[in-house]
């Protein structure tokens, strides 16, 4: 009954594929199409201009700056966030000392409390987080400089978001703070599915925390780490970085363009300067960067699947 099979499959797939094409693929095609026009976004009239927008990108200093910042976001943020999250998750789930009458594998004391604390920022909208930190970074009356003053560091009063050398790092720190909890929970779930016998065996062989982590936890968690990595990179390139930069370093993206990222630049070109076509061109560039990022991570991270 071979030929009936295909009709059966097609029948089931037609609707979802159609919806996917309409809602996902079509907007992509449209965006790419608009990048070849001179559409302003403020009037329905436009004409084709070929590769003009693309050649303009080449000489656009701000574009290159924003690309540089976006790449830094995509490379650095996942490393920092995921390392931190792995460390926290390990300590919460596996890293505790053996306690009398307790289970063999357990987290540090108070781990269930830490889990909630880490996850807490996740329930706040990124807009709120960004606003809160914008206040905290206020050099005059903000929490951070007040603490510095409080501990006697009167001489150290950085301008934070007002300093082009610090602004980008200040923004990144907020993103790490607000996303790390999600990965702690994700990795905790992954670790929960690793059989306890493996840890028991390792402990009997006298393995310490570090060895346990690198020989057992990380290899068995690799798939989760890899998806987390891609997910974080896309967050850092897209929506989240837009929100924090737009809200915290208001204006053009920090002093002297020090925090401009690609998504912000897309938004500004489309909705401030009335250059929607050029904005879609930058959007296409962002798409390329995002796809390249995902491809590289998947490629480098490929290793044999472990079965357990």
């Amino acid at each position: 009954m071979q030929h009936g099979k295909y009709r059966f499959i097609v029948g089931f797939l037609a609707l979802p594929l159609g919806l996917y094409a309409l809602f996902v693929v079509w907007p992509f095609i449209q965006s790419i199409y608009y990048s070849f026009t001179d559409w302003t976004g403020l009037s329905p009239e436009f004409k084709m201009v070929g590769f003009d927008n693309y050649s303009r990108i080449l000489d656009d200093e701000i574009f290159w700056k924003s690309l540089q910042h976006s790449l830094l976001f995509a490379l650095l943020l996942p490393v920092v966030t995921i390392s931190l999250a792995l460390f926290f998750a390990f300590m919460i789930n596996v890293g505790g000392r053996k306690r009398r009458n307790g289970p063999v594998v357990s987290g540090v004391r108070g781990s269930s409390f830490y889990k909630i604390v880490y996850f807490f920022p996740q329930v706040l909208s990124i807009a709120i987080v960004a606003l809160l930190f914008a206040f905290a970074y206020n050099p005059d009356s903000g929490a951070i400089n007040s603490i510095l003053r409080g501990v006697g560091l009167d001489g150290v009063q950085p301008l934070w978001l007002g300093d082009p050398d610090l602004a980008l790092w200040a923004v990144m720190a907020v993103l790490v703070w607000s996303t790390v909890g999600f990965f702690v929970v994700l990795f905790s779930a992954g670790m929960a599915s690793i059989p306890a016998e493996m840890y028991e065996a390792a402990l009997l062989d006298g393995a310490g925390r570090a060895t346990t982590f690198f020989r057992i936890t990380l290899p068995l968690l690799w798939d989760t780490v890899q998806s987390g990595w891609v997910y974080m990179g896309i967050l850092a390139l897209g929506a989240e970085s837009f929100a924090v930069v737009q809200i915290m370093t208001t204006g053009p993206g920090g002093p002297d363009y020090s925090t401009t990222v690609m998504v912000l630049y897309v938004y500004q070109k489309a909705f401030r300067d009335g250059q929607a076509a050029y904005a879609t061109t930058i959007g296409v560039a962002l798409l390329v960067v995002t796809l390249a990022f995902a491809a590289v991570v998947m490629r480098l991270g490929r290793r044999e699947r472990l079965e357990y």
Partner: protein, 484 residues
């Protein structure tokens, strides 16, 4: 009419094009950055023939408004609130009792209205203001606006023998023009820019407002000894600095220096007056007269610090009185002054001030009831409505006068006095509305902001800003303007 017709903008059916638009909008959810532009894809129906028929022109209805046609008015809900407009809408409803008025106020002008411009179904009157202001140059360039000349030539609401044009403050009509005679924008508010301070704080120092820069430095030194900074400004938005810096440049070097800057003429910024004023401001930084941490403050934070008496002077516009009303102490005695000059060799007298229109109102070209939109503006430009605005939001309007008989707040009173003192010497640098990105980001943040934070010397700042201006002059993706 078939329901799949692209011309069908009603709510009765989902047309093919609507479906595509909606699909694009949904795509937004899955891929935020790429597809959000397509959500406002230009799939509109082009010219629509459903404009309201003109009514009969009478003495009471000089614009010929169709008294049964609906009118839609979208207001920017910002520092001035929306009450003043609601009051004016009530008058419109009274005059045209058969017409249905749809009034709404939003802070998101662009995200609400950009798609409607693309579809060719914009409202009849818009206050295109705020952070999400739509680019006027593009709107004009793409023929999206109605010429407001009929409104300006119509009799004013109060006196039938006077044209609306003749009741406006100087400069308002010119500001609404781009190139040529047509008037695209009507600025409703009238803003006085300058140096804002507390008269009480100044009195406590035993000082007058300084007229020369040496006096300015002396006042700041005195304030510093009392533990008060001389100046603060919106460090994250350093494009507030020009509110006092540009008129100072005009005062020192003459109007033509500012005109050259607006016209993006080569080497306009290399005029000695520019460098002299930059040097003067830089001196404030070097001598430590700027409130500590200022480069990291936004406009609200800097205004609050200033209202708390941490700094004496702040460059700002007349909206500050309303915007900071809740932090300015009762006995603050708010005052504004024209910027301090350099010395007696300045080309223009002390008192030279920057004042210009604010709150730009536009009537879209594709509005269904353009006459209604203009009539609504004519009502707002009446003496009564203007007084209502001034009384409610502590700001002047484009209507010349209209301050008699209402209790003026200290800041407003001082603003009126400053305008009186300035007389003819009102400057109006247009770079702010002609080249938004150049003015805000490049000159403001990357030039002046960096200089005032001490990261650029005045000479470097001049060079950098000249570079930006040259770039903008060469960039053919932006429309260029010249003083007529």
């Amino acid at each position: 009419m078939g329901s799949t017709s692209a011309e069908n903008h009603g709510t009765e059916g989902v047309g093919r094009r609507d479906l595509i638009k909606r699909s694009a909008a949904l795509g937004l959810i899955s891929v935020p950055t790429m597809s959000f532009l397509s959500a406002c894809a230009s799939s509109g129906g082009g010219d629509n023939g459903d404009k309201a028929k003109a009514g009969k022109k009478t003495a009471k209805n000089p614009l010929g408004v169709n008294d049964t046609a609906g009118m839609e008015f979208v207001l920017f809900d910002g520092g001035f609130g929306k009450e003043y407009a609601e009051d004016a809408v009530k008058i419109y409803e009274k005059n045209f009792s058969k017409a249905k008025v749809k009034f709404s106020a939003t802070q998101k002008i662009q995200s609400t209205l950009q798609p409607r411009f693309n579809q060719g179904t914009p409202p009849d009157l818009i206050d295109n203001s705020g952070a999400e202001q739509m680019d006027m140059g593009v709107l004009v360039g793409k023929n999206q606006l109605t010429d407001l000349t009929p409104l300006l030539d119509a009799p004013s609401y109060d006196a039938p023998d006077k044209k609306v044009r003749d009741t406006l403050r100087p400069g308002i009509v010119e500001m609404g023009q781009f190139d040529g005679e047509k008037v695209w924008i009507l600025y409703y508010a009238y803003t006085v820019y300058g140096v804002w301070y507390s008269q009480k704080a100044l009195d406590s120092l035993d000082e007058q407002y300084p007229e020369t820069w040496d006096q300015m430095l002396a006042v700041c030194e005195k304030a510093k000894k009392k533990g008060m900074a001389g100046w603060t400004y919106a460090g994250k938005y350093p494009y507030y600095l020009p509110f006092s810096l540009y008129p100072m440049i005009g005062k020192v070097g003459g109007r033509e220096v500012l005109d050259a800057i607006d016209n993006l003429e080569p080497n306009a910024w290399k005029h000695p007056a520019v460098k002299a004023c930059f040097d003067a401001y830089y001196e404030l930084y070097k001598k430590g007269y700027i409130l500590k941490g200022t480069p990291g403050l936004d406009h609200i934070q800097s205004q609050t610090a200033w209202a708390q008496g941490k700094a004496l002077f702040i460059p700002n516009g007349s909206w500050v009185e309303n915007e900071s009303a809740n932090v300015i102490p009762k006995d603050f005695d708010l005052a504004v002054s024209a910027p301090t000059g350099l010395d007696s060799s300045d080309k223009m007298p002390f008192g030279t001030i920057w004042a210009s229109g604010g709150e730009p109102f536009i009537v879209p070209a594709k509005a269904k009831n353009a006459e209604g939109g203009m009539e609504q503006l004519r009502i707002m430009l009446s003496e009564a409505s203007s007084k209502n605005f001034t009384g409610k939001v502590k700001s002047l309007t484009a209507y010349n006068g209209g301050t008699d008989g209402i209790a003026l707040t200290p800041g407003l009173k001082s603003g009126v006095a400053a305008l009186d003192k300035a007389g003819e010497n009102v400057v109006n640098p247009r770079i702010q509305d002609w080249y938004v990105q150049l003015q805000k980001e490049k000159i403001g943040v990357s030039g002046l902001g960096e200089m005032m934070a001490g990261r650029l010397t005045p000479a470097e700042a001049v060079k950098r800003i000249q570079g930006y201006a040259d770039e903008a002059a060469k960039d053919d993706s932006i429309k260029h303007y010249k003083h007529q």
